[in-house]
């Protein structure tokens, strides 16, 4: 740290000194995130899409599973009929279906990723930090899980517990945490011999305390990036499972399913592909920008 650099930071620090007392890493990160324009815009768009998905269907004249028998063919957008973005090939309102599909896709995407995040970070950090036999056992278990084919795994779950929406989160979460734990373990291994970890041990830190306060916050940057890559993956995985009849069932739908259906009709009514695809693409873009923003915000050197 050069003195010039220090001096320039003093001014800023002085200004904010009174107001930042006792702020945690998270409050700090939030403040820094709000300064990132792309991340803020993404956050707003995501919130709008989320709200539309949750509340939108109630405000529309047609429900997602209602067939407009007078217009059984795919109908172009029409304001007077209440089909603002037209209907699909069996006459169901496309906008209503897309919004309802958004509920499913966003829920699956966020919850399954959260499951993967929690299990993956915990397993990875413990395996990497504790090392030795614990590491061996946990990582061989991960290898074992890698070798089980996803569809086979999901079918077994279905047989055991019946078809269940919750099961899908678990199934996807159980697969996605594997890579996460490997990444976190690798990061932890490179951190555990750093001097500040040794210093933490020398000042009497417990294993759990060091993992939670010194290891996990330091791997978050990488983890957040991986999360933003996982959410789209999970949304697509859901549509794959649904396609196999293991996920959500008609007439309930998801973005992945809508895109599948739309792709089949692409040459006749490209609209049925584009509408869900635009929603999904915008969402995934926003998740990526937001993830980038969060990563930057979590790095104190980046302010």
């Amino acid at each position: 740290m050069t003195s010039i650099n220090l001096a320039s930071r003093h001014g800023e620090a002085l200004e904010t000194a009174a107001s930042v007392e006792g702020r945690s890493l998270w409050q700090d990160a939030w403040r820094r995130l709000l300064r990132n324009r792309a991340a803020v815009v993404s956050l707003i768009i995501l919130a709008v899409i989320g709200l539309l998905s949750v509340l939108g269907p109630y405000a529309l004249p047609w429900s997602y599973d209602e067939i407009d028998w007078d217009h059984i063919e795919a109908l172009p957008p029409s304001l007077e009929l209440g089909h603002y973005l037209g209907t699909d090939y069996v006459g169901r309102d496309l906008l209503a279906r897309t919004l309802v599909g958004g509920r499913v896709s966003l829920t699956v995407g966020i919850l399954a990723t959260a499951v993967a995040l929690i299990i993956g970070v915990t397993v990875g950090a413990v395996a990497g930090f504790v090392g030795g036999r614990v590491d061996q056992i946990l990582m061989r278990f991960v290898d074992l899980m890698y070798s089980v084919p996803l569809t086979f795994f999901v079918i077994i779950l279905m047989v055991l517990f019946g078809r269940n929406f919750i099961l899908m989160f678990l199934a996807i979460g159980c697969v996605e945490w594997l890579t996460m734990s490997r990444i976190v373990r690798g990061q932890t291994l490179s951190l555990r011999n750093k001097e500040f970890i040794e210093a933490a041990r020398a000042s009497g830190g417990t294993t759990a305390g060091i993992i939670w306060r010194h290891i996990v916050p330091n791997v978050l940057g990488v983890v957040i990036i991986y999360v933003t890559l996982t959410i789209p993956q999970v949304i697509l995985l859901e549509s794959f499972l649904s396609f196999l009849g293991l996920g959500v069932q008609e007439p309930l739908t998801s973005w992945g399913m809508l895109i599948n259906e739309g792709a089949a009709e692409m040459e006749i009514t490209p609209r049925t592909l584009f509408v869900p695809a635009v929603f999904m693409t915008v969402t995934l873009f926003c998740f990526n920008f937001l993830g980038d923003g969060i990563r930057d915000a979590l790095d104190p050197k980046d302010r």
Binding site: S3, R9, V20, E195, F196, A199, R201, S203, G204, N218
Partner: protein, 330 residues
């Protein structure tokens, strides 16, 4: 357990440390015994790999996974080598604190300095956040950090090396430890800051009556701070005694060699920097007899056949050499 003044705070008896490596076992510390009294500063001197750091890492149970230690390490009479991890956790940072070599990497980068200090107080002293904050700021003031309230909310990378080392010292002193182990506390700092940090350690030691172990290879640092000195070579203590005795009347050729290696202004005339010829020995493959004999100018047949044990030296300390003071000094 209150220690009587001048009774040993820490007593190490016959401590040995080995590391299992793929190439075989490495004997890092062999049969080291030493004690540190209350309010005293013990300097541990030696080349890299002489086992000076590992002696104290073993004492705190902080050896690398492949390391094992035998012997006794008594802190106020309690054997630390036999204590469980839970007990050690309660002792580290509380009764014994460590100051590390490199302040640039010893603070967690994503955490504000204040938080790292309060964490120690909250864990060991059970203080609440406000009390811990007051305690931490008071300690920052104590180690002469200007504007402690402002530094409190800064991140480590926003502080200079000297300030960070002060923060590390503050952290070490937070719980009022019986003993502070400073492992090369000034090696990573520039000279002017070095002097300030040494002054600080001395001042703190005087006022708080803390025992200090100063691990260093810088004899100048030892001369300025230590009351007693132990010189280590190849995992063993080769000479120990009062700082003046060691400096003015070295009984061991290695100590003498170290002293001669210290550059001084007089050498400007000769234009030559003295060194001890040869390399520190391979710990897996120690020479027979005295480990120092291949590099020693006075070595004889006996040095090769027999390992000298620590015995009374001409000053009031001990030496591990067959020669007497007169034979070592020219």
């Amino acid at each position: 357990m209150i220690s009587v003044p001048s009774s040993p705070v820490l007593e190490i008896k016959n401590l040995s440390v080995q590391f299992a490596t793929p190439e075989g076992e490495v004997q890092a510390v062999s049969d080291v015994s030493l004690s540190v009294n209350k309010g005293e500063c013990l300097g541990i001197v030696g080349e890299s790999g002489s086992g000076k750091s590992q002696t104290f890492m073993a004492a705190l149970g902080l050896l690398a996974e492949n390391g094992t230690a035998q012997g006794e390490v008594l802190l106020n009479g309690v054997d630390l080598l036999k204590a469980g991890e839970r007990k050690l956790t309660a002792i580290r940072g509380n009764k014994i604190a460590l100051i590390f070599q490199d302040p640039m990497t010893s603070l967690t980068p994503h955490m504000r300095v204040g938080r790292q200090l309060t964490e120690v107080l909250m864990r060991h002293r059970g203080l609440n956040a406000t009390e811990a904050r007051d305690g931490a700021i008071a300690m920052l003031k104590r180690v002469q950090i200007p504007e402690p309230e402002r530094r409190f909310i800064m991140y480590p990378h926003e502080l200079s090396g000297g300030l960070r080392q002060r923060v590390m010292i503050a952290m070490a002193l937070l719980c009022g430890p019986d003993m502070v182990i400073a492992d090369e506390p000034t090696t990573a700092l520039d000279v002017t800051v070095q002097a300030q940090i040494l002054d600080l350690i001395r001042e703190v030691q005087d006022t708080l009556d803390t025992a200090v172990v100063l691990i260093t290879h810088d004899l100048g640092v030892v001369a300025g701070l230590a009351d007693r000195v132990a010189v280590m070579y190849a995992g063993r203590i080769v000479e120990q005694g009062g700082v003046r005795d060691i400096f003015y009347r070295p009984n061991h050729p290695y100590t003498r060699g170290l002293l001669e290696c210290t550059p001084s202004l007089d050498q400007v005339q000769t234009g030559k920097l003295l060194t001890i010829p040869g390399q520190p020995p391979d710990l897996q493959n120690l020479p027979p007899g005295c480990a120092f004999h291949p590099r020693c100018v006075h070595s004889s047949e006996r040095c090769l056949a027999e390992r000298p044990v620590l015995s009374a030296a001409s000053h009031n300390g001990q030496k591990a050499c067959f020669l007497s003071e007169g034979q070592v000094s020219p």
